[in-house]
Symmetry: C2
Subunit: 155 residues, 2 copies
DNA sequence: CCCTTTCATTTGAAATTTCAAGCCAAAGAC
DNA sequence: GTCTTTGGCTTGAAATTTCAAATGAAAGGG
């Protein structure tokens, strides 16, 4: 049973802003995914898994850390890495120091593939997001995102 | 083959803002979905399909219009409506005026179920989004969303 | 009218994601 | 040491989404 507290509705402006933002939430990922898929046959998340690995020393990272970085559940990451492995972009290897951790490692092929994909993706991010906002708006957006994420992460 | 134009990278602030916003893009839908799923066994999109129908005269709408409203592809909507139909929340009926349009119609049960689900969802939207932002930030967000969506929708 | 074309939607299969075990290495308990 | 317990990851099955036809009604053409 849901407890019926005060159903405090949204004001007209709040509702309008929320609706608009919701639309953005649904459209922007699709638009970014579309470009990556078309030009590099990568999903947004696959891209960020590869990108996450490139930045690490040894281009390797523990699965669970990678999951946090890419904002996905471990199970999903595991399946996804299996697919990237099949394509030759990533390898798996148990952590030599502690056998119950597993490392995902970016291969040379994976690194090269990412390097091919990156410029197009960055161009798309610029085109759809960065370049349409002025610096002030971008700062506000940054701050707002901080606040909302902080609230979400409050236990 | 991808044409290697100038790979104009992002500045430090641009990158930081983008990263943060990206995280929001992945976290907020999940947090909203979570509440709806837990309390009402509805996905975010299912909720908005039902909500979209409630606002229509006769609580009915053409599938293709509903798809635009809910920001989903027609095929996905069709499967999704089939599931809602199985649950008794929606019915389908060809448009009496033009047999190749199909109407999705909210049933009384669907309407009642939505009414049960709405307060909790709105509370969550308030809690995670509206109430953490001040009016100025909300306005800026609204405007920014407008701009980005406009850019995405430019052919 | 019949024949093609177009449009709105559905359908089934393939790919992906979610969910609920399952597995195995390390850490503790005795 | 052996025996549980815990933690990190994988796995297979179920649910959902995506993709590529397929269907069926209306519109156009001759």
């Amino acid at each position: 049973m849901s407890d019926h507290e005060e159903p405090r509705w949204l004001s007209a402006e709040e509702l309008a802003a929320w609706r608009r933002f919701m639309k953005l939430l649904q459209r922007l990922p699709g638009a970014l995914d579309g470009q990556l898929q078309r030009d590099s046959r990568l999903s947004f998340i696959e891209y960020h898994v590869l990108a996450g690995l490139t930045d690490q020393p040894g281009r390797r990272m523990r699965m669970s850390e990678l999951a946090v970085l890419a904002n996905v559940e471990l199970s999903r990451l595991s399946h996804l890495v299996s697919r990237l492995e099949k394509r030759g972009f990533v390898t798996r290897e148990p952590d030599p120091a502690n056998g119950r951790y597993m490392h995902a490692i970016l291969t040379d092929a994976g690194h090269a593939y990412l390097a091919e994909a990156a410029p197009g993706h960055v161009a798309q991010v610029r085109k759809l997001f960065i370049d349409v906002l002025d610096p002030d708006e971008l700062r506000t957006l940054h701050r707002s995102a901080d606040k909302v994420i902080a609230r979400i992460e409050e236990v």
